[in-house]
Amino acid sequence: MDDAAIGWGGLALSLILVAVAVGLSVWQGLRLERDMLWASGRALVQLLAVGYLLVFIVDDDTPVAWAWAWVVVMLGVAAVTVRRRAPEVPDVVRLTLVATSGSALLSLFVVFGLGIYPIVGRAVVPIAGMMIGNSIGSIVVASRRILAELADRRAEVEARLALGQPWQQASKPFVRSALRTALTSQIESTKAVGLVFLPGAMTGLILAGADPVDAVLVQAAVMYLILGCVATNVVVIGLGLTRQLFTPDHRLMRLARTGGPG
């Protein structure tokens, strides 16, 4: 594993590329130099802090409860991140917590309950991290698409409600379309894996000296987990958010992207 360690010297050399980015920004007058330096510095500090914490959490002598506590923190951070990226979505923190908790439980049950990995901090933290991290993007896309579809197609939704359809039925074609959009990108990236890009887990394992075929098996399992996780998130968000956008007496609430009738 020592081959994988780049040390402080290696890290310092990688800063050359940050310098290149800053130079390009200056040359093109993008005025992003400060942002680039700040982002690079901040990322390093955050990763170092997490790294030192992980040294403790993944230590074989540390009780695995610490790893689960770390998962809970990740769920909270994911919810806050989604709220920042999709502030127009009502009640998005609660919905995200429900969706990510549900999908994390499901995927962690498969991984640990079925014995694919032993329940140790070294496995719990990175696998939960990948599940929850990949959930953020899909939740943002799904929730924004649902809002946009129902706002843009308000006339059709209300025409269906006016025919006596319940909200679940009146919204179905539009929610289905939004969920398809949200899931399609994950399906496409699952298809392209290995051909277009080498995903993170596999790359990390190969860099760390693992046999490439072993790395592939791990990566394939991770991809399947992520696909299942994303699908669960998207459906939970779809059901939960749509319910939020209708009143109990089957009226579509006023949505940000469009005005109601005059």
Partner: protein, 237 residues
């Protein structure tokens, strides 16, 4: 004993985002013919119509349908009894048949044909793509779609606003024959000429209120200067 009105509004107010849309409206709609809700843009006509099938709920007051508070009627049942046609036609994907079956998935072919006939469309339209219809045809299909649920009353929210004059007059004649056939209509418009052609009763709304006698007379006289300003033409004063 007077007949029970089709709709009654008692002290109804509607506020949306701090804006008062309707302000203490009390009125009744007779259970026959065509009642026109008339008024300038922004008077609250469409919102008032939407209160009648509970697409909106009042902030204060009560709406009654044939004597029963609409809040006490299951909203899905209410909306099938009180059909609505919107300002712009909203065809669903697929054929005209697919559209009509949304209203009643189990409807027999002759029921669909009858709904089309009542909306003055030929049964051959059933296999046409809803996307290929003209504006007037699409609005008639939307009317037929609403008629599939066999509503007791029809709410028409400026249904001719997006139509050319010919299609407008045809839809008006269709509305008249439906009303004469025993199905009362509530028709929203800001078009005084259309109100004159259609109305058995007129309710004038101005700035979210039922116009008083002076406002009503002034509103009608401004742009509707002949016999249609007859104060006996409606209960809405």
């Amino acid at each position: 004993m007077p007949a029970t009105p089709l709709f009654e509004l008692v002290g109804v107010s509607l506020t949306i985002d701090d804006a008062t849309i309707l302000d203490d409206v009390t009125l009744s709609v007779p259970d026959t013919g065509i009642t026109v809700l008339l008024g300038p843009s922004g008077a609250g006509k469409s919102m008032l119509l939407r209160l009648l099938n509970r697409l909106e709920v009042p902030t204060a007051g009560e709406v009654r349908f044939r004597g029963e508070p609409v809040s006490a009627i299951d909203p899905l049942t209410l909306r099938r009894r009180v059909g609505m046609v919107f300002q712009r036609p909203a065809p669903f994907p697929g054929t005209v048949r697919d559209n009509l079956l949304v209203a009643d998935p189990g409807a027999a072919e002759d029921h669909l044909a009858a709904a089309l006939r009542d909306a003055r469309l030929d049964a051959r339209f059933l296999d046409r793509s809803a996307d290929d219809l003209s504006g007037g045809e699409a609005q008639r299909m939307c009317l037929a779609r609403t008629l599939v649920t066999d509503p007791e009353v029809l709410l028409m929210d400026e249904p001719t606003a997006a139509l050319d004059p010919d299609a407008r007059h045809r839809l008006e004649r269709t509305a008249r024959s439906l009303a004469d056939g025993g199905r009362p209509l509530v028709w929203v418009t800001h078009d005084l000429e259309q109100a004159r052609r259609l109305a058995d009763d007129v309710i004038v709304l101005v700035r979210g209120r039922v116009a008083d006698d002076d406002e009503r007379a002034r509103f009608l006289a401004d742009e509707w200067s002949d016999a249609a300003a007859d104060p006996e033409d409606g209960p809405g004063g």
